[in-house]
């Protein structure tokens, strides 16, 4: 069977299962986590943009980047805690530091990134402080502190944006695990796209040139690094079909549209805003699509049994030869 010139290699779905029930437990994560994938990425991308703007002297963009980073990380924290079965025990995450646990690694990244992003953003409030007194001192100290914090946050931002790829991939969920080479790139691209999108909407038009290039880069990373997502055999099926497939596809289309519009939007605020919205929407769709694809793949025993059975049969025939 071919579609659009692409060979669909779906093996015959002839396999045994226990009353058709899933082998795996589908993830218990609620949409909080899909949302977090987006907000975390947005925060990371925005921190990078904030730092870039800081270093290249684009104060408006810097402010937008820093505030978006703080907003993103605050939302992320809320979503992560909200998703816990026992939210009051959030701090147990800090009991251990485990390199084998992407979530532990992510916790420590967030623990570093969050305060830095916060400091950087709060520093933007310095002009509002009175000139004199203790607060006056703060007004003078804040900008350099904010600058250091902003750069430090940006330094940890790429890790924040990409570790989530490992977070999903380091599971038994077939469509997530098998996509481990692609997911960090998809998420890195998606993070930059979202952050660029917010910048395009909110930053002064004069300062948004890097964002257009960044949007293009985001698209390049997501398409280039993540093109394998839909092409890795049976377990990529959920990225193409069903609701999850439609979401992923929508993400791709929106990314292309958003990037193209961004490149065309030099003089137009309206076009910039449209492109920004498309880029943000692309990121949301991609995150929810990837999240959903994993859940689908865990619920259908086919994605667990068929590849494993194939592997086993291969092994067996190899030992028999």
């Amino acid at each position: 069977m071919t579609r659009g010139g692409e060979q669909l290699t779906v093996p015959p779905a002839d396999f045994a299962s226990y009353y058709g029930r899933p082998v795996l437990k589908p993830p218990v994560w609620k949409y909080d986590i899909a949302g977090y994938l987006f907000t975390g990425g947005l925060a990371a991308g925005s921190a990078l943009i904030g730092a870039g703007a800081q270093l290249t002297g684009r104060p408006g963009l810097r402010t937008v980047g820093r505030w978006t980073a703080l907003g993103g990380v605050a939302a992320s924290t809320y979503l992560l805690v909200h998703d816990l079965g026992r939210p009051a025990r959030f701090h147990h995450m800090l009991r251990v530091a485990k390199v084998t646990s992407p979530m532990s690694v992510g916790t420590w990244i967030l623990a570093a990134f969050g305060p830095l992003a916060g400091v950087a953003a709060v520093a933007e409030l310095a002009p509002l402080l009175p000139q004199h007194g203790v607060l006056g001192l703060a007004r003078r100290i804040a900008p350099p502190v904010g600058n250091v914090a902003g750069l430090a946050a940006a330094a940890s931002a790429p890790a924040l944006a990409t570790y989530t790829g490992v977070l999903l991939a380091d599971t038994a969920v077939p469509s997530w695990h098998d996509a481990y080479p692609s997911l960090p790139f998809v998420f890195a691209g998606s993070a930059l796209a979202a952050a660029s999108g917010v910048g395009l909407i909110a930053a002064p038009a004069a300062e948004t040139a890097p964002l257009r290039r960044l949007a293009l880069a985001a698209a390049a990373i997501e398409f280039g690094g993540g093109h394998q997502l839909e092409r890795q055999g049976l377990t990529s099926e959920p990225y193409r079909h069903g609701r999850s497939g439609r979401l992923v596809k929508a993400g791709r289309v929106l990314l292309a549209v958003g990037t193209a519009t961004a490149l065309l939007s030099r003089r137009s605020r309206v076009l910039a805003a449209i492109s920004g919205a498309a880029l943000v929407a692309s990121s949301v769709a991609t995150r929810f699509g990837v999240f959903e694809a994993g859940r689908v793949s865990a619920r259908d025993p086919k994605y667990t049994v068929v590849p494993q059975r194939g592997r086993l049969d291969e092994k067996r025939s190899a030992t028999q030869l």
């Binding site: 800090l94 251990v96 390199v99």
Partner: protein, 189 residues
Amino acid sequence: MGVRSWFEGWPVYRQLTGTDPLGRGAAAKSDGSRALTARTDTADSMARSVCPYCAVGCGQRVFVKDGQVSQIEGDPDSPISRGRLCPKGSASKSLVTSPLRQTTVRYRRPYGTEWEDLDLDTALNMIADRVLAARDETWEDVDAEGRPLNRTLGISSLGGATLDNEENYLIKKLFTAMGALQIENQARI
């Protein structure tokens, strides 16, 4: 707890300084896990009993803590069951501690539509009254030919087969002395 001991109890510290850098075992063990004991070890007493379900007669050990049954499991000493129990026998603790168990006397008066409460002693006396009345009302001294009957057919009883031998013995003894003949048991069924 001092800051130092708190810090030294922090698993991350243990990871960095101990034998478990990946935080997989020794470093991650919690206070709860360290304090864990089997409740059979901490029971106040243990009674040796027998499963109440089928007639195989599997040995049970009944552990008691603070006057409550805390665990019932197979008695490995039993040559019959060798410590094993089926699902019913394994559920014995749930049986005896079930929240559905009735623990007070309930009374339904004639033509009543609801249960009422009744004192145990009152109930016992009311039952004694009714037994004696029914017995008097239906007493048969002799048959048509004058042969002794010494009985009442106004009272029936049907017992389950989870009754103890001692209980069955007293039931039969009392009913026989009372002339109540219609005493039956699951053994008929």
